[in-house]
């Protein structure tokens, strides 16, 4: 105990280098602690979000609620830019009807309570277009208890017509807080764990670099303490006590950082998820674990620093580790990761994601032992010649581990950045087109019966938007028996529109087409019932010719009947279709606001109509890319500082040698070049490795997500450029002045 | 150091004629004052009388040059006693000490031991001075320091010489 206290005492150093060392280690620990605390908060965050969403859940899951103290609800799920809009049209059937969470009172007909974010958007630019989707009078704001997050777009609108739509678009609820389906899988935790692991790696490397900085002074100090009678275990305890200080300070600073981030949490959004700061609380057990991990991490890095080191009363002896250049064990992680990734690389249809994920992580880790092997190799392969390179190359070959420690972190970070950037690049290329080229960009499915003329008019309405081609059909679902799973469609539309849905030889009004074995007659599924109920019987016209559905329809449909308007029997014309479907195709000349305009038009036709964007309207990786850039910037910065510390301390260690070189008349440029080369060659070699592995990793990710493998030079080179710029800046900016100082023979006098 | 001791040391190396003895003495011990022949023969006579050397006349008749002198056991003891006895720590004792070193080298004895003995003698003196100095007042200190610094210089010369003994031995034996 006394030794720990002494260690703590010793961590408050005298001298600039000592302070720098403590400050750097503290910063590293702080970043790690903040990240870990945030990670520890993710479960609470998700749970709180889940709880909010459960509290307002109104999905009765197919169960009919009898009228009584009930509220009629209709859902309008929509989209505005990258934000999902959750709309609810409600109408109370009695004064005792349940009030949705966060809503102070029932809105009157055509009035709404809107979330703060939605109100802001309505007031913002282009708000008029958005307003067409929800043309209700705003009478108040939804309280946080009714929102999943501060940035959620949501509204509750009074809508009397919903009364008449029960069973075909609206439903009754007697309370809020139904069980939500589609729970989040365990995957979320796995992802969070993987993220933290990859984050912790550079943090640990950084802390290690910080602790190594000025290790020589610490070594001398410990030897001095050993001389006056501390045994080797006591010295270790002292060193551990010393590491407690950056750990403690770092924990405090990390908690502060965490609180700051938490305070700003309302401004952050990721994947359409926003979080209330109040929901960011670490799980108590995990928070304790974070403290333990941080302490263990700094203690572990300290102990690791003592590996192969004997602190003796007469000094610190490093067991001369003869450089073990053997390659095979360095290749083991690489081999293991390749084995894990093998199904993906071989192009297997359904690769096991966990296995592949593990392989990806392992591939990144596999770099770590490879870099120290690579550097002496490069040093050997590069042609000799100048005196400065000779000096540098000798040093690199003799002690590659020391020369590459800091570089390894940069290589790992750059590799990850390249992989993810190339992946996101390729993924965003895909977004412009729907999965199936035959599919429309948007589909509106509206309830109600429409005459052929009305359908043509609806088509024309949507074609007003620039670059949009549309077509409207009435779609009936075929009844296949009470338990039938196979689906079929009966589609009514004009020839031009039918052509968008199916392929057939030719078409004129009065033609009919069939796909599959329909039998002599087909029966539609009656609307207005939750249980499957047979509706209208339709005879298959005698002259029906074969047709094939195209696009996504073709996948789910095995039988189908397509009718042009004039051959539609009267019985069918009277029956209500499952929905009237307007299909919208987006040309290249469509403006970016097309989706918003189309949604507005659709809401004007029927707010309860289902509007689906088949091609994503926005780059859903955009926010992730920002996070990635931010993350890699932070990591690269840390690595840069780590490199700086490392270079500075190595320079410090060898200042005598350099001074002697300068004193015996080596030209200053020779000495400085040798120092520069020593710093740069490992980085360049490491970056080359990073490009190779990063591109490979990107390809793996693309394969896994079934994105066409595609590389853009900028995605590959940007992280490399940033990484090397960082290295250049640190070496040139810090190393050169330091080297100049060292090489002035002045220094020697004090030796 | 006396001529007699020097002769004994020279004879311990090997039996010699009187003429050779004079030459060797002049080379190692005389500095710029060579011996007279008269001194050589009176010294040798004295040594003979004390039984420290014997003579084995080769020719037997024609003068001292024909006589070869050999050291006796008593003579060897005398040399040993001489070498073992440290010189009194004094200010300018180098010449005496130097003679002893040469003597040790000539007789194949340990010159280092000579120096060690001398060092110890010096140190004893220095310890005594240090004790006096610690006990005394400032004036005592300064006086003792004077002596101490001189003895220290002697010792450093001794130490220096000790490191050169091997080279010196080669030269002396040549």
């Amino acid at each position: 105990m006394a030794e720990l206290a002494l260690g703590v005492r010793l961590a408050f150093p005298s001298g600039r280098r000592g302070w720098l060392r403590t400050a750097m280690a503290t910063a590293g620990v702080a970043i790690g602690a903040a990240a870990l605390l945030l990670g520890a908060s993710v479960p609470v965050m998700l749970d709180a979000r889940q709880a909010r969403m459960e509290a307002r859940a109104d999905s009765v899951a197919g169960v009919e609620v009898p009228p009584g103290e009930t509220l009629i609800v209709a859902g309008v799920e929509s989209q505005w830019g990258s934000n999902a809009v959750r709309g609810r049209l409600i109408w109370p059937e009695s004064p005792g009807a349940p009030l949705p969470p966060g809503v102070p009172a029932f809105p009157g007909d055509q009035q709404m309570y809107a979330s703060p974010a939605l109100r802001a958007a309505l007031a913002g630019p282009d708000g008029e277009t958005l307003r067409r989707q929800m043309p209700y009078e705003v009478i108040g704001t939804i309280a946080p208890s009714g929102l999943s997050g501060p940035h959620e777009y949501a509204y509750y609108a009074g809508y009397k017509r919903a009364e008449s739509l029960v069973g075909s678009g609206s439903w009754r609820v007697d309370r809020f807080g139904y069980v939500l389906e589609g729970e989040r899988g365990p995957g979320t935790y796995v992802v969070v764990a993987a993220m933290l692991a990859t984050l912790l790696l550079p943090v640990a490397i950084f802390i290690g670099a910080a602790l190594r900085f000025g290790a020589d002074t610490r070594d001398r100090r410990l030897a001095a303490i050993r001389l006056v009678g501390a045994d080797s275990r006591a010295v270790l305890r002292i060193a551990l006590g010393e590491s407690l200080v950056p750990a403690g300070l770092g924990l405090a600073a990390g908690t502060l950082l965490y609180l700051v981030v938490r305070g700003r949490a309302a401004d952050l959004r990721l994947f359409d998820v926003s979080v209330f700061p109040a929901d960011i609380r670490p799980v108590p057990v995990l928070a304790l674990l974070v403290v333990a991990v941080i302490v263990a991490l700094s203690a572990g890095m300290t102990l690791l620093g003592f590996r192969g080191v004997a602190v003796e009363p007469l000094g610190v002896f490093r067991r001369s580790t003869v450089w073990n250049g053997r390659l095979w064990w360095r290749l083991l992680p690489l081999a293991a990761s390749l084995w894990l990734l093998q199904p993906v690389l071989a192009g297997a249809a359904n690769p096991d994601e966990d296995r592949a994920g593990l392989g990806v992580v392992l591939l990144v880790i596999a770099l770590i032992p490879l870099v120290p092997y690579l550097v002496p190799l490069v040093a050997r392969v590069l042609p000799g010649g100048s005196a400065s390179w000779q000096l540098a190359s000798q040093q690199l070959r003799q002690n590659p581990a020391a020369s590459t420690r800091a570089v390894t972190g940069i290589v790992v970070a750059v590799t990850g950045a390249i992989a993810l950037h190339t992946f996101f690049g390729a993924a965003s290329v895909r977004r412009a087109t729907p999965d199936n080229p035959a599919d429309p960009a948007y589909v509106l499915q509206a309830p109600g019966r429409q005459t052929p003329a009305a359908m043509r008019e609806r088509t024309a309405t949507f074609e007003q938007v620039d670059g949009i081609r549309a077509g409207t059909v009435a779609k009936y679902i075929l009844y296949g028996g009470r338990d039938a799973t196979g689906t079929g469609y009966l589609v009514v539309g004009d020839c031009a529109t039918l052509r968008q849905i199916a392929t057939f030889d030719r078409c004129a009004d009065g033609d009919a087409f069939v796909q599959g074995d329909t039998g002599r007659t087909v029966t539609t599924l009656d609307t207005g019932h939750i249980e499957p109920t047979p509706g209208t019987k339709v005879a298959v016209p005698a002259g029906a010719r074969p047709a094939r559905f195209v696009g996504t329809d073709a996948q789910g449909v095995n039988v189908g009947l397509l009718l042009t308007p004039s051959i539609v029997p009267a019985s069918l014309a009277r029956a209500e279709p499952w929905f009237v479907e307007t299909r919208m195709y987006e040309g290249d000349d469509a403006p970016g606001t097309a989706a918003g305009q189309l949604r507005g038009l659709a809401a004007e036709i029927d707010p309860l109509a289902q509007f689906t964007a088949i091609a994503p309207e926005y780059d859903k990786f955009a926010s992730l890319r920002v996070a990635l850039n931010l993350g890699s910037a932070v990591i690269l910065l840390m690595m840069g500082v780590g490199l700086l510390l490392d270079v500075a301390s190595r320079l410090h260690d060898r200042r005598r040698l350099l001074g002697v070189l300068a004193a015996v008349g080596a030209r200053r440029s020779t000495v400085i070049w040798s120092v520069l080369l020593q710093a740069l060659v490992p980085v360049l070699a490491g970056l080359a490795l990073a490009i190779g592995v990063g591109v490979g990793l990107g390809a793996v990710l693309m394969r896994m997500s079934q994105v066409p493998v595609l590389f853009s030079a900028s995605a590959v080179l940007a992280p490399v450029a940033v990484g090397s710029a960082l290295v250049l800046a640190t070496t040139v900016g810090v190393l050169l002045p330091a080297a100049r100082r060292v090489t002035t023979t002045e220094e020697l006098r004090y030796e | 150091m006396t001529i007699a001791t020097a002769f004994l040391a020279l004879l311990e190396g090997q039996p010699q004629h009187g003429y050779d003895l004079k030459r060797a003495y002049d080379q190692h011990f005389a500095g710029d004052r060579p011996l007279h022949y008269g001194q050589v023969y009176t010294t040798l006579a004295k040594l003979l009388r004390h039984g420290l050397v014997t003579v084995d006349g080769v020719g037997g008749d024609s003068g001292p040059d024909r006589k070869r002198y050999t050291i006796t056991d008593a003579g060897v003891t005398d040399v040993q006693r001489w070498l073992d006895e440290p010189e009194k720590p004094d200010q300018y004792l180098q010449s005496d000490l130097y003679a002893k070193v040469i003597g040790a080298l000539l007789t194949g004895r340990s010159a280092a031991a000579v120096l060690d003995v001398q060092r110890e003698e010096h140190l004893v003196a220095m310890r005594e001075l240090t004790r006096r100095k610690q006990a005394g007042d400032l004036a005592d200190r300064i006086i003792c320091d004077h002596a101490l610094f001189h003895l220290d210089a002697d010792l450093r010369w001794l130490e220096h010489t000790a490191t050169l003994l091997d080279d010196l031995a080669v030269q002396v034996r040549r």
Partner: protein, 236 residues
């Protein structure tokens, strides 16, 4: 001959007895059969040219270095048979060290440096610092207690080291060129304080030096040359 009056007082028992020490560093032979015998309370100087193995002899005798061959007996126990914990305890309680430089902890104040061996031995901070203060007062360091080693002159640093070596009431103090980095006045001061304090405390001192004026503070001396010691001197 008046030499070694104190040393020859046969009643004093041998405290530390190193015999036939051999030590090689790779191809270099540092010790080739060196002896060192220290009786309780006496001050023994170890002289010899540089590189002759003086420091190595001291290190072996203090159990800091394990000799390749030979024995080091201290107070009836064989040092090389003790494990690190026991040897560390010995350094803490029975031995004190004053080296040429670098043995003070720069982060600690002079007082904390002096109190360090006691603190390591589990003595309470109060007691440790009280004892350290007393000793520092006697060594003329009263006003330097709060200074860090970096703020002290070389002589003051060495006096702090002397105080630290003495604070646990050791039986042997190992001093390796304690004045090596000092000018002659400061060196004399340090030597005077070291020897006086050691005598008062009854501690033996092994004083490694190449400087005869420093060695003159000893009761007797041995010489190391080429890794061999001449114990015969002074016990003649």
């Amino acid at each position: 001959m008046t030499a070694g009056v104190r040393a020859e007082g046969g009643s004093m028992s041998t405290l530390l007895d190193a015999q036939g020490l051999h030590k090689a560093y790779g191809p270099t032979t540092a010790l080739a059969g060196a002896d060192l015998r220290v009786r309780a309370g006496e001050i023994v100087s170890v002289m010899g040219p540089s590189g002759s193995g003086k420091s190595t002899l001291l290190h072996c005798a203090a159990g800091l270095t394990r000799p390749d061959a030979g024995h080091v007996g201290y107070d009836g126990q064989e040092l090389s048979m003790l494990d690190d914990v026991r040897r560390s305890a010995l350094r803490r309680r029975e031995f004190g060290f004053v080296f040429q430089f670098g043995q003070l902890v720069p982060e600690l104040t002079a007082l904390q440096n002096v109190a360090l061996p006691l603190r390591l031995d589990g003595v309470s901070r109060r007691t440790a610092e009280r004892r350290a203060t007393g000793l520092m007062d006697r060594l003329g360091l009263a006003d330097k207690a709060r200074s860090r080693p970096g703020e002290l002159s070389g002589g003051q640093q060495q006096r702090v080291a002397v105080a630290r070596a003495l604070v646990t009431g050791p039986r042997v103090i190992f001093a390796d060129e304690p004045t090596g980095a000092l000018d002659s006045v400061a060196g004399e001061q340090v030597m005077e304080m070291l020897t006086t304090a050691a005598r008062e405390a009854g501690a033996a001192v092994v004083l490694v030096t190449h400087d005869a004026r420093v060695a003159a503070y000893a009761d007797r001396g041995i010489v190391v040359r080429d890794g061999r010691s001449s114990e015969r001197m002074g016990v003649r």
